[in-house]
């Protein structure tokens, strides 16, 4: 019983981070129809900025705030500086430029900080709390849950309850109609990059303490997993990203525990293939599959 709860807790914690990072991918896809392959590197860069603040001040909550701001800033920079000038005729353009951004950012981070793992210490215990004889979740896992829940709920409210959210959704779904209705679509795109990049940075910062430490490639594996999650949930669907993220996290943890770490990625690949075969638009997408 205790093992099951512990596994479920660990799986959900892992999944919550996937969900958050996948949400960042979905936000950009919805706003610009770009699959942001640079998201991992952008998020890691934001996390390094937060790391500097953390070693300077020792305050993890402050680092969380800083990672959001730095992420937003990097998002604006990449969009205003590069992405908006690309021809949109082929989705390849954005992908290739994004890969260029990855190379530049990881290269710069390597030069500035080196390739070694920088440990990020958190003011929370990573030992599970026990209730009676049951070990459930660690305080840090709880903290991650709370932060992610707040962010996801905030984004949900922004999109469904506010005028800005309506304007962002309208420009995502039908640019021409949005413009005819006075929505400043270009601004909405920049906002999409800001939000997405901030959320991505947060995901990396929350994930790093459970791993070896911060490294220029800390976002790579997370990006691959979250990209899969976003496809499974439906690139158009924030709800899909969250549900698929939690699901994949639990699946990965269970499979890894039962059959070992090598089987985990295979299980995710199988799930992805299954979803692409049966429901290529993703589990939660409103639209039919897009070809481009």
């Amino acid at each position: 019983m205790s093992t099951v709860l512990l596994l479920l807790g660990a799986g959900l914690a892992r999944g919550a981070v996937f969900a958050l990072f996948a949400l960042a991918l979905v936000l950009i896809w919805r706003a610009t129809r770009i699959a942001n392959f640079a998201q991992g590197a952008m998020a890691v860069t934001a996390a390094y900025v937060a790391y500097l603040v953390l070693i300077g001040t020792g305050s993890f909550p402050l680092a969380v705030v800083v990672v959001l701001l730095a992420g937003a800033g990097i998002g604006v920079g990449v969009e205003r500086g590069l992405m908006r000038y690309l021809p949109t005729a082929s989705p390849l353009n954005a992908i290739i430029v994004a890969i260029g951004v990855v190379m530049v950012l990881t290269g710069l981070l390597g030069i500035l900080f080196g390739a070694d793992y920088k440990p990020i210490s958190v003011p929370f215990s990573r030992e599970p709390i026990t209730v009676g004889s049951l070990a459930i979740v660690s305080p840090y896992t709880l903290f991650v849950f709370v932060v992610i829940a707040v962010v996801v709920a905030g984004i949900g409210l922004l999109f469904t309850r506010t005028s800005l959210g309506l304007a962002m959704r309208a420009s995502a779904f039908d640019e021409e109609v949005a413009r005819l209705n006075g929505v400043r679509v270009v601004r909405m795109r920049t906002l999409g990059w800001m939000l997405s990049s901030a959320v991505g940075g947060l995901a990396v910062l929350l994930a790093v303490p459970t791993e070896l430490g911060l490294n220029p490639h800390s976002g790579d594996l997370l990006f691959v997993n979250a990209f899969t999650v976003a496809i499974i949930g439906g690139l158009d669907s924030p709800v899909g990203a969250v549900v698929a993220g939690l699901g994949v996290g639990v699946l990965l943890t269970i499979v890894t525990t039962l059959w070992g770490a090598t089987v985990g990625p295979i299980a995710i690949l199988l799930l992805l293939v299954l979803v692409l075969l049966l429901r290529p638009q993703g589990l939660f997408s409103l639209r039919k599959a897009r070809l481009a």
Partner: protein, 243 residues
Amino acid sequence: MTATTTRVALSLQGVVAGYGQEPALHGVDLVVPEGSIVAVVGANGAGKSTLLRTISGLLPTSAGDIRMGGVSLAGVPVEERIRRGIVHVPERRQVIGELTVEENLRLGALWRGDRAERETDIAEVCEFFPALAARRKALGSTLSGGERQMLAIGRAFVAHPAVMLLDEPSLGLAPKVVSDIMTMLAWLRAEYGLTILLVEQNVRTALSIADTGVVLNLGRVVATRPAAELEADEQLRHLYLGF
């Protein structure tokens, strides 16, 4: 207010515009008086949709000037034109399928800050179109063609425009629905003094509610007449409208 029917809401002078090299509009002149309904008719490919897309800024002009209340719209981007009082209901009733009926309506009023007034207007649209009221929370993609057209017009209405541009509102709709929509347009003009520029292939329907009929042929205005007179002019009809 005194009758000011002669004031011009929207005017075009020598407008040249189109896609790529060959313009679809060759120096179009058009005057739309305030509070009037002007119907632009013409065969397929006459440049009717191009005309509306140029006025709303979706297509750039390569020559000529478009004026709204005497002020040139040159350099005013699409998304600002709604703030100048122009609202465009595009062809095929562009409703956003992923948004609900209510959200589509709210979108039209978004540029106006006043939240309370927006909701009053949305309620008014729902009152006029009970079919929409019943489906407020339904996604736009689930609506029928007629409901979509009602929604598109409702969305344009809540934008509080001075001039409403309508592209083929009767296209593919049942006669009863077409007549409802034309009644709605006539009522909007009578009740709110709305100026309407209507583009139609359905000539009789369009001329039945219009004050002025404009015949467009291959990107040029070939006739501007009172609607009733145009409908009666057999020669023009044979020549350009094919009936």
